[in-house]
Amino acid sequence: MADKLWFLLPEIWLFVGVVVLSIIGLSKSKSLRDSLPFVTCFFLIVAFIMTPFVYSADRVADAPLLMPMLGKYVKMIVCAVGTMLALLSVGLLDRPLEAAMAEGRTRFDAIRVNRGEYFAFFLLSLIGVMLVCNANDLIWLFLALELASLPTYIMVAISRPSSKAQEAAVKYFFLGAMSSAMFLYGFALLYGSTGTIVITELRDAFTDQTLSEGGLSRLAIVGMILSIIGLCFKIVAVPMHFYAADVYEGAASPVTAFLGFVPKTAGAVALILLLSTVGWSNHHGFNVDGLPREILTTLWMIAVLTMTLGNVGALLQRSAKRMLAYSSIAHSGYLIIGLIAGPPFGLNAVLFYLLAYGLMNTAAFAVLAAFERRGQEIESLDDLAGLRRRYPVMAVVMAIAAGSLMGMPPLLGFAAKLYLFIAGMNAGHVALIVIAALNSAISAFYYLKLVALPLLAQSTPQSETVIPRPVVWPRVAAIITAAAIVILPIFANQLIKASNVANSIEQSALLSATDDLSLVEKVEDGTRH
């Protein structure tokens, strides 16, 4: 138990942060409360620095986990992107109150301010994601997923003083509950089929089933498929994607950026853990014929439908936020390619993609979050028209983010997509890659709007009224993330190596790290030719 707790040090540290934030959130001093986002950043940065030390080699060797090193990579990217998201949220809450105070209509009223809760929930949700990668049984997995999700419902509701946000929160909550019920039911069936809830034991049980019966039992398959579909809600994939457009549009931009990254990471990591119990054909020490055909087909259909519906839906949007919501759906479709392809290339690509998507998604929403019109945040694409003339830096950031989402070389999104597609090709899913490439081509149509409108279009009377928000931090976050999108491709090799270590199995983490170097070289060879 102590071994397991050791790896929870970052989470425990962040939980201390939650308590501190809650206490500061009760303060009567306005300046103290204004410091909340920065306190959040502080805790996240310390957790980021702490994580590599927590995952020291000798500790990892004894860890009772399926993928012990997974936590190191995921926790670090969650802390890094989380820091940016916290900067995005500066000045988000209590906007009418701030405006009234600025005009002298009212004084600071500690009771009406709820930003303390917001940042506490913010950290709690991140803790949830981080706990997901430490999960070694289904109960833990379920609780961690719920911990990641539940705070987000409230964050959506309090993100802005508008009935739209309330409506979005309610929809999000109900549909989220439904999805949780679905994968909980799936977990129950898995337990019924194998008699265990421990992930490493599930893996052994499935191996036995495969060896003795020539395949997984029907019960296990149904349980697995229900779990996958339930988790599709977290990663915003078909058929659980319906909420995305409404919720993303209803929430404030910083929260939307949060929703695009945090639950998606939780879902993707949970899917990696779940699927590794049935195993891919080239999974370490696990000789099966690959994913069971039913599961493969399910994922295949989900991937194709998700990317197609996402891109097609995005084509019709006039609202930038709805467009990015559909784009989030489409990107989940690409992500599933990596899950289908499996280790090492596929999972490397998925983990890399989570970081890339987190950064570019944050950059795009950061631009939206940096502006307002008459105290309301901007939503429509028309608001961005001709941004370059007045705010050239933000226009360029938007262009970089959209270009990266589109997969334009040499930006980070290109490297991420390339790794995914190569993994898919290596695993032999040519048809899937062709469909994904076609989808990428379609997506250029709407992403280019995000490039062209700010940079090339003329200002309209509507976009002339857009002004920057009084706080500077969203713009800082936008510039940092855009810089990361431009610079990180140079270090793509190192990131892929890190993610390769992250998805290695069990205690062989250290042993296979050496094997994996040759695999990494193969990946590099593949990209070079």
Binding site: P239, W280, M301, H429, A431
Partner: protein
């Protein structure tokens, strides 16, 4: 085959002889030589800095003159310290290796300098003339001081950088880098007056015509690498001179190499069929015409073939074709030059004609003659252009030789007139001048080397020499001699301080003219200089190509050549040529003297007589219209391309864009509209859709295993 049988033993004998000298050594003692390359580059950067700082004085000119001058001094030092071919490594540039068909293949092109005597010969006049002409330009371009001035000198500096890389590079890729670089610099400087449409058109024409040649060069380099596995000179020459390689070996891809390199050389050095860009290139400022389009860049083609001489011998017909193209170009360009009125254009055609001589020299196996002619021509042609520039500068753009007369009697124009006269004597091949000796070396060799009608070429070249003397002195007698009268041009400088009076050149121009004219006169001396290397006749220049790859073209190299020595008019061709070409040169000058000084009306009546006779009318007309070459190219190349281009454009517009692209783009939108109703914002409907979707997938996957089997087979893959 006749040629092959006769000259191949000679060449092979030389190759054996050359083997021991031709191996370049890596030497880090000369690492300072890389500064010859870097100084012009530095000067470009500093000029850019001047542009950024909006400097409004002559600073860019002094930066350029100083850095080029230092380059020249370093080249001199390199020459003094020279003792055999040397490679100076600067840094690793391209170093690729891979396995193909289980053989290891590599491609190495380092940023290194290959210093041998041929390199030094070229570098001496490139940097020397570059410095002097930059000094001249500091005065010539002064009316543009400010932005244009900086742009001009940045262009000159980048040209020198590229030219240095071209000449000094130790491999073909670096040569190609320089080759493209000088092409770009030439484009930059021809289009210097970018507000003038003719200048822009000329710049584009130069660039595009050169691209055709560059394509040949690029393919040639590729085939060299493909066949010999290297692009480095030292390795390449070792293979070609070595025992393991037989001259007759190899398929078409080896025999194609000389022709591709030839195409590149003809483009850069303005030979048939790619010569049309050079006359138009005179739209650039005159110092550019002097430096780039007369003295240095256009000789890059000669350099390429001289450097690649062993490669040119890979196909027996390659060098004879070079000789014929050179000879015919010389004649064609000379006839055009006779009928032009713009003195810069006359000199441009004269440049083409003289380059033709150089290729003739390469073709008839006298790389010595070609290199010597390049050397002398660089001086006297630079003087001619610079004097033309001085006239243009002083007379507000007036270049028509019918509108200026008696220049030598105008105050302040004496130096221009007499330097021009000396240069004219050189160009005309007047006995005793440098041009006389260098031209004779080529003309005589045409009668010495057997094969492929070289004797006919020799007579063509002698006739051309007469024409050259005539048109050269036509210019001088018209402009500098005769009664004083002039008409100003219509291009006035921004600071028009002289009204309608010509203003004579000042110190910088006169100084540079005198220095280069002295150079042009002294260029005759190397022919008589004793050379220290055994076995090489022909003075200093012969020594300068002795231990380079162009050694095969040295005179009287192999003993076997002496026995087959042909005769001309019963004498040794070299002796005979002194009389023949000297005589025909003087004859041309005398005709020019009569028609253009003593009795100017006679020239017009001669022309009218030719025009009056229907049988001869075509001759002056065609000559004046440059044999309609531009018009022919327009009709057979440009017009069809224009038609095809527009047809494809319409196809793209209507079929590809409107039809395919827009059609396909509509499909996703239609799909989107189909699914839109599901996204209605009602929670219950979302819930039902989700549950329905989940149910549908579960049913699809679980209840229909057969379908799954089929789909699974269809999808393939392991997962």
């Amino acid at each position: 085959m006749m040629l092959l049988n006769q000259i191949m033993p000679m060449i092979l004998a030389q190759a054996e002889h050359a083997q021991h000298v031709n191996v370049a050594r890596l030497n880090d003692q000369f690492s300072w030589a890389s500064m010859i390359l870097w100084l012009p580059a530095l000067s470009t950067l500093l000029c850019g800095l001047c542009a950024a700082l909006k400097i409004k004085n002559k600073l860019p000119a002094w930066i350029t003159v100083a850095s080029l001058g230092t380059s020249f001094v370093l080249t001199l030092l390199l020459y003094i310290n020279y003792s055999g071919p040397t490679i100076v490594h600067i840094f690793d540039w391209l170093n690729l290796g891979w396995t193909s068909n289980s053989q290891s293949v590599n491609f190495i092109a380092n940023f290194s300098l290959y210093v041998d005597s041929l390199t030094l010969l070229w570098m001496l006049f490139v940097t020397g003339l570059g410095t002097l002409i930059a000094l001249y330009a500091s005065e010539y371009m002064e009316s543009d001081v400010g932005k244009g001035y900086t742009r001009f000198f940045a262009g000159v500096s980048i040209f020198l950088f590229a030219m240095t890389a071209l000449v000094m590079g130790d491999n073909l890729v670096m040569l190609y880098l320089g080759w493209e670089g000088v092409g770009f610099a030439s484009y930059w400087l021809i289009g210097y007056y970018y507000t003038r449409p003719s200048a822009v058109a000329a710049a584009k024409k130069a660039f595009i015509v050169n691209r055709i040649g560059d394509l040949g060069l690029a393919l040639g380099i590729y085939l060299i690498w493909h066949n010999f596995g290297t692009v480095e000179y030292s390795v390449l020459f070792e293979i070609l001179n070595g025992d393991g390689y037989s001259q007759q070996a190899g398929g078409w891809s080896i025999h194609a190499i000389p022709y591709l390199l030839m195409l590149g050389a003809f483009g850069k050095s303005a030979q048939i069929p790619l010569f049309v860009w050079l006359p138009d290139a005179m739209e650039g400022p005159t110092p550019v015409s002097a430096l780039i389009h007369a003295a240095t860049m256009v000789t890059a083609g000669v350099y390429l073939l001289a450097r690649m001489y062993p490669v040119m011998l890979l196909d027996q017909y390659a060098l004879p074709i070079v000789a014929w193209v050179g000879g015919l170009t010389a004649l064609l360009a000379a006839t055009i030059a006779m009928a032009q009125h713009d003195i810069k254009r006359i000199f441009a055609y004269s440049t083409i004609s003289q380059l033709g001589y150089m290729f003739l020299g390469l073709g008839v196996l006298t790389s010595f003659g070609a290199a010597y002619h390049v050397f002398t021509h660089a001086f006297f042609k630079a003087v001619l252009f610079l004097t033309a520039g001085a006239v243009m500068h002083g007379f507000a753009g007036q270049l028509d030789l019918r509108k200026i007369s008696g220049l030598r009697n105008m105050p302040g124009w004496r130096i221009v007139s007499y330097t021009m006269l000396i240069a004219c004597f050189c160009l005309a091949g007047f006995p005793g001048t440098s041009g006389f000796f260098s031209k004779d070396a080529i003309l005589a060799q045409a009668f010495v080397t057997p094969g492929y009608g070289f004797r006919i070429l020799g007579w063509i070249a002698i006739i051309t020499a007469g024409l050259t003397a005539y048109y050269t002195f036509r210019v001088w007698f018209r402009i500098c001699a005769g009664p004083v009268q002039f008409e100003m041009g219509d291009e006035h400088h921004g600071d028009d301080h002289h009204g309608n009076q010509p203003h004579a050149p000042r110190f910088a121009i006169n100084f540079v003219l005198i220095v280069i004219t002295i150079g042009a006169v002294l260029a005759a001396v190397p022919f008589f200089m004793a050379n220290t290397t055994e076995g090489a006749h022909g003075g200093w220049v012969a020594e300068m190509i002795y231990d380079s790859s162009a050694i095969h073209g040295l005179p009287h190299q192999a003993a076997g050549a002496e026995t087959q020595h042909a005769t001309l008019l019963g004498m040794d061709p070299h002796t005979a040529m002194y009389f023949v070409s000297g005589g025909i040169g003087i004859f041309g000058i005398l005709i020019a003297l009569y028609l253009h000084l003593i009795n100017r009306k006679a020239a017009d009546s001669l022309k009218n007589a030719l025009l009056g006779n229907s049988l001869t009318r075509w001759l002056p007309t065609a000559m004046e219209n440059k044999w309609y070459v531009d018009e022919i190219y327009h009709a057979i190349i440009r017009a069809p391309l224009w038609i095809i281009g527009h047809a494809l454009n319409l196809f793209d517009l209507w079929f590809v864009d409107r039809g395919i692209v827009d059609g396909i783009a509509r499909i996703p939108k239609l799909l989107g509209k189909v699914f839109q109703p599901l996204q209605n914002g009602i929670l219950q409907s979302y819930g039902v859709s989700m549950a329905g979707g989940a149910g549908l997938i579960a049913v699809l996957v679980i209840v229909m295993p057969d379908l799954m089997q089929w789909l699974g087979n269809l999808l393939g893959g392991g997962g």
